[in-house]
């Protein structure tokens, strides 16, 4: 039994005068992986960043419409944005660990949210690094700089870091595009693992990836959500011609 954890309703977004999202509505199902696909510049990242209000930090960005999360509109004025981002974490395209030790990368979030006891932090570190399938590789060098890890390891560390504040939803913006195939497949396996406890929304340019790992898929084009639904249906029996042309690679 699944239900909607997030409902996007009639979302419009402008960067200055330039409209980047046009009337987007879609649900995100709990404990599922939802993929967003579409050509470059169609607004995938923009939509993703709306879900935890990361667009707030961009000057000149304006949003209309609503995103319901636990039946509350996250764009209502009384939203606690910091609390929201704690619940909805994010993984970026390029691995971006802080230039601190592996351990400190994972304890950063809990500390920011007021966890200070050493035992609690130790156990968060172990749990999150295990969940991100990195524990075996780094357990004996948690004090080393995160910059000494490989790109794939760094990305898994970023996932551990995102898990450290116990989010419910994890947003991933092309998390594997800077990685080699082996590191990519590790992240994909990890995403499958994660959906038992978390809800995942992933932006990807890679159609195979979307069809391999996601349960639901949304296809976007020029700021509009053209179509969304179960991944098999989108890939095998798309309703819109645009979608079909995109997924079969006859685009342009």
């Amino acid at each position: 039994m699944t239900d909607n954890i997030i409902d996007i309703n009639g979302l419009n977004l402008w960067y200055g005068d330039n409209q980047a999202l046009v009337d987007v509505s879609m649900p995100v199902m709990k404990n599922k992986i939802t993929a967003l696909i579409g050509p470059s510049g169609c607004g995938k990242s923009t939509l993703l960043r709306c879900i935890n209000r990361m667009n707030d930090i961009i000057e000149g960005c304006r949003v209309e419409g609503e995103i319901m999360f636990h039946d509350r509109n996250i764009y209502s004025p009384e939203t606690d944005v910091m609390g929201l981002r704690k619940k909805i974490g994010m993984i970026f395209q390029k691995p971006n660990p802080f230039p601190m030790s592996i351990y400190e990368n994972v304890t950063y979030g809990p500390k920011v949210h007021g966890v200070n006891s050493r035992e609690a932090l130790d156990s968060i570190v172990e749990e999150c690094i295990r969940s991100s399938a990195l524990w075996d590789e780094v357990q004996d060098r948690l004090g080393a700089s995160a910059m000494s890890l490989s790109g794939g390891q760094q990305q898994r560390l970023c996932i551990a870091r995102a898990l450290s504040v116990s989010p419910e939803v994890i947003l991933m913006d092309e998390p594997t595009s800077a990685l080699d195939p082996i590191a990519t497949s590790k992240i994909e396996d990890l995403a499958q693992e994660l959906k038992r406890d978390y809800t995942v929304v992933i932006v990807t340019h890679n159609m195979q990836q979307a069809s391999r790992i996601s349960d639901y898929t949304g296809f976007m084009y020029m700021g509009k959500l053209i179509e969304c639904g179960k991944t098999e249906e989108i890939f095998e029996n798309p309703q819109e011609e645009l979608t079909e042309r995109y997924i079969t690679g006859r685009f342009g």
Partner: protein, 655 residues
């Protein structure tokens, strides 16, 4: 063109010393020769100063020199420990004053100010560095010193360690602000996003991620600020009282104090050439030079490593990982000790301003305040921190307004046509400053004539010809060192080399050469930068048409880089116009009622005239302010035109 025009090389190879040298190679070696001038000067500075200090080492002994605490050269006492300590104390105080202000302003500009105010704020803080040091000294003498005397309880004199530290602190501000701001704003955006995306507040992101990530740059900024403060002469000399003693007790901020630079500036003009005293001063200069060299090399090292840092997808080298770990530890130590440092400062100042018992109470209150901040919610903490940063920025701007405003407001009544066009009278109490203006213009003119060609050619060589060999690294290091060398050391060098050794005497010529070497690094750097910014497609287009490298440079690259080159030259003019220490042992006299016309005659100059009036003729108030204003306007106008030019062309040439 003839039929066989293609086959004959248009530019014939040259025959030099019986060998065939390709045209471009000949140009390259010629440029290299010019670029080496910087290294030659550094060697010459070291050589002249070393040669002149050795007799002092022999006569006094290093032990006595470093440990003796009586500096009374007329009686044969050459214990320099008091002046060395004085330099360290004034510098320490300056950094304690400048670091919180500078870092706070840098964080404000980079993280808090709305985008459209960032550039203007940076420009405003650059004005600090345009104000000549003698003007700071004058402001200190007429404003800061009396203020301290009237407001610090029990103070018997205002000329003090504290006055020196405040002024040096203000002078170190622009370096600290601009270098830290650079470091902070070059922390990748992705770090900020990662932190915010986890629900951290902006302030948590700034204080826990951004500032620690920029710690190398901030340390470099601090070290550079220290280098600047150690080498500063005129301002400190005018406000510290110059008594070669240890403060009693050592934390007594109101004690007069004397620095190495002040000792040089005060005594150099009065010693017999060749005496032990003369050589002892060179020994002091040598120490100063070496310390500043060390400090500047350290800051360069730190900066270089910083560049390797922000490249997350590339695995860093082992060495820089170790360095990163070291920096992380430094960041922690910094966070750890900052409370102790802050409380210490609060205590010292409260003790000075009120009484020991009040100091204990105030320090305890400060401690309580700090501890209670732990119980603030993240949002309130952010509000508190952001208000603090805004306050710091306001203080920095207020300092600027006060300094410039004081001089403008009190200087304007002194200005008149006669003031500009008349000779001084009655030792400077009356009359105008005509010969000082003309003297400054003459000094600047010759300086530019020498420095610009040398600087531009060296800059071109470094940008377009220099490969990364050991030799070019030596040249670059020399230029960096030259840029960091205290101006008073240039003055001593000018005295030893041009006035005495080459026997030019106290003369315009000796002043030109000294100032030219002082400003050359600025021109070299701006030229190099400007040339490097010319897009390589442009160069390739020219080369592809068969132009030689030299033709490409003169016909394509230089015209494109021209604004940058001009900007550098203008900045060097401003610098030359405002400097005092380098000319006071080489070219200037205090008073002239008639100007000599030749290049072997000495001249008057605005900065030195201001120094002379301020320190020797205290009641010539109008004359002092008038001179300060003319000098300030002249220098700021020069810098302003450089800035305008730079902005204008940056907009226009948007490669």
């Amino acid at each position: 063109m003839s039929d066989k025009g293609y086959d004959e090389p248009r530019l014939k190879p040259l025959r030099i010393l019986g060998r065939t040298v390709h045209h471009d190679d000949a140009v390259k070696y010629a440029l290299l020769a010019v670029a080496s001038v910087a290294s030659v000067i550094v060697l010459a500075i070291i050589g002249f100063i070393l040669a002149n200090s050795i007799p002092a080492i022999e006569a006094i002994g290093l032990r006595e020199f470093f440990t003796g605490d009586i500096w009374r050269p007329t009686r044969g006492h050459f214990g320099a420990s008091t002046v060395i300590t004085g330099t360290l104390l004034v510098t320490l105080g300056a950094i304690v004053f400048a670091l919180p202000l500078g870092l706070g302003a840098a964080i404000f500009i980079s993280e808090l100010a709305p985008k459209k105010y960032r550039e203007p704020l940076k420009l405003l803080s650059e004005i600090f560095s345009g104000i000549p040091s003698v003007v700071y000294g004058f402001f200190g003498l007429v404003v800061v010193v009396p203020f301290l005397l009237n407001n610090v309880p029990g103070a018997t004199q205002g000329q003090s360690w504290l006055a020196g530290s405040i002024l040096l602190g203000i002078m170190a501000l622009p370096t600290i602000i601009s270098v830290s701001e650079d470091a902070i704003s070059s922390v990748p955006r992705s770090y900020r996003e990662a932190s915010l995306a986890m629900g951290a507040t902006r302030w948590q992101t700034t204080s826990r991620v951004v500032v620690p990530a920029a710690i190398s740059g901030i340390s470099a900024a601090t070290i550079l600020g220290i280098g600047r403060a150690i080498g500063e002469t005129m301002a400190v000399m005018m406000v510290t009282g110059n008594a070669p003693i240890f403060p009693e007790p050592l934390s007594n901020l109101m004690s007069p104090i004397r620095t190495i630079t002040a000792t040089l500036a005060i005594e150099m003009n009065e010693v017999p050439v060749g005496s032990t005293h003369f050589h002892a001063l060179f020994l002091l200069a040598l120490i100063l030079f070496l310390v500043v060299l060390l400090v500047n090399s350290l800051s360069r090292l730190v900066m270089r490593r910083m560049k390797e840092k922000f490249n997350p997808t590339k695995q860093p080298k082992k060495r820089s990982v170790r360095y990163l770990d070291a920096m992380a530890i430094l960041a922690k130590v910094f966070t750890g000790v900052r409370y102790v440092v802050i409380l210490g400062i609060v205590w010292i100042i409260a003790d000075l301003w009120f009484s020991p018992s009040a100091a204990i109470a105030i320090t305890a209150a400060a401690l309580a305040l700090m501890l209670s901040s732990r119980f603030l919610s993240a949002n309130n903490m952010q509000r508190l921190a952001h208000s603090g940063l805004t306050l710091v920025m306001a203080v920095v701007l207020a300092l600027l307004v006060i300094i410039v405003g004081d001089i403008v407001i009190k200087g304007i009544p002194a200005l008149s046509v006669e003031f500009i066009t008349d000779y001084p009278a009655r030792g400077g109490r009356d009359g105008g400053i005509y010969p000082a203006i003309v003297g400054t213009l003459k000094l600047v003119f010759g300086t530019v004539l020498i420095a610009v060609p040398l600087g531009v050619i060296s800059g071109i060589y470094l940008a377009d010809y220099a490969k990364d060999t050991r030799y070019t690294r030596i040249i670059r290091a020399s230029i960096d060192n030259l840029a960091g060398t205290p101006s008073v050391v240039f003055g001593l060098f000018g005295l030893a080399a041009f006035v005495i050794y080459f026997d030019f005497g106290f003369s315009l010529l000796a002043g030109w050469l000294t100032l030219a070497f002082l400003v050359m690094p600025v021109i070299i750097r701006t030229t190099e930068e400007a040339v490097k910014r010319v897009p390589s497609e442009l160069k390739e287009a020219s080369l592809a048409l068969g132009a030689s490298k030299w033709e490409t440079i003169t016909k394509v690259v230089l015209p494109a880089a021209f604004p940058g080159v001009i900007t550098g030259s203008i900045i060097s003019i401003g610098r030359a116009a405002g400097e005092t220490a380098p000319i006071m042992f080489t070219a200037v006299v205090a008073y002239q009622t008639r100007m000599g016309g030749g290049i072997t005659d000495p001249v008057m100059a605005l900065p030195y005239h201001l120094y002379y009036l301020a320190t020797n003729i205290p009641d010539a108030y109008d004359q002092q302010y008038g001179t300060a204003l003319v000098l300030l306007l002249l220098v700021l106008a020069i810098y302003a035109s450089a800035t305008v030019l730079r902005h204008h062309y940056n907009k226009k040439l948007n490669w």
